[in-house]
Amino acid sequence: MSAIDVVSIGLIAIGALFFIAGSVGVLRFPDVYTRLHALTKADNLGLGFVVLGLALRADSAVVIAKLAVTWALVVVAGATAGPLVAEAARTSGVHPWRRSK
């Protein structure tokens, strides 16, 4: 295993950890709004690390550009779709969870 393999595997593993954290958030958080926090934030960085890890293994600059564009697209789509889901929940009357005092 070359040094590049080691770094690449490490980056992809870190990415996977953020995906796991995001998924745990979806399970543990109490309502749709808090769950969207977990999805829109942890997954962005998770995919960022996976993309970095894969970029190290890419055989051409075009592939690296493709990975970067894919990541940017996912980030923008997440930041757009998250508020849309939240707005739909709000207009259909879903009350946000509050910590009972």
């Binding site: 950890l17 953020f18 954290a21 995001g22 745990v24 958030g25 543990r28 958080f29 309502d31 709004y33 808090t34 969207l36 926090h37 977990a38 829109t40 934030k41 942890a42 962005n44 960085l45 998770g46 960022g48 075009v62 592939v63 550009a65 493709k66 564009v69 980030v75 923008v76 997440g78 930041a79 757009t80 998250g82 508020p83 939240a86 707005e87 929940a89 709000r90 207009t91 946000p96 969870w97 509050r98 910590r99």
Partner: protein, 157 residues
């Protein structure tokens, strides 16, 4: 003009994704880019197109590192909260009025809030943004107005 600008961006996107200079691929990409460019200009951007001056485009590039930093902090912070057994959240929704004049600034602001630690845009009514925060300390940062000043500098100066 709007349609031409949109088509150029879409075609560049096609070039990267297809990664091919084959004549048929190029022709397909060109036709699709122009069709979608015309559609976008006629419907999505009929009133207020997100066209930037050269200076604004430069400001936008300068804004990207700040956004990336926020995204990293957001992910770390949400992962920490999720993995904490006590799950220290105390969610709140706050309204925040902004002085934006352009649609593109509102879109960028709503998206930026969602990428900022602990905050999520849930609704926009005219210029009032309703923001869900995992705790009040996160929405305080929005209320300080620093983010909207940044975006005013990028899109409205």
């Amino acid at each position: 003009m709007k349609a031409a600008q949109a088509s150029v961006v879409l075609f560049a996107f096609w070039l990267v994704l297809s990664g091919s200079l084959n004549l048929i691929d190029l022709a397909f990409g060109l036709i699709l880019s122009v069709l979608f460019g015309v559609w976008a200009a006629k419907t999505l951007w009929a009133e207020d197109a997100p066209v930037l001056t050269a200076r604004q485009a430069g400001q936008f590039v300068l804004y990207i590192p700040h956004l990336l930093k926020n995204m990293v902090v957001s992910a770390l912070q949400v992962a920490e909260v999720v993995l904490d057994p006590r799950m220290p959240i105390d969610p709140i929704i706050v309204g925040h009025r902004t002085p934006f004049k352009r649609e593109v600034t509102r879109v960028a602001y709503a998206n930026s809030i969602t990428l900022t630690p602990g905050t999520l845009t849930v609704d926009v009514e005219n210029n009032t943004f309703y923001i869900h925060g995992l705790a009040e300390s996160f929405t305080d940062e929005i209320a300080s107005g620093e983010l909207e000043q940044r975006l005013m500098r990028v899109f409205e100066e």
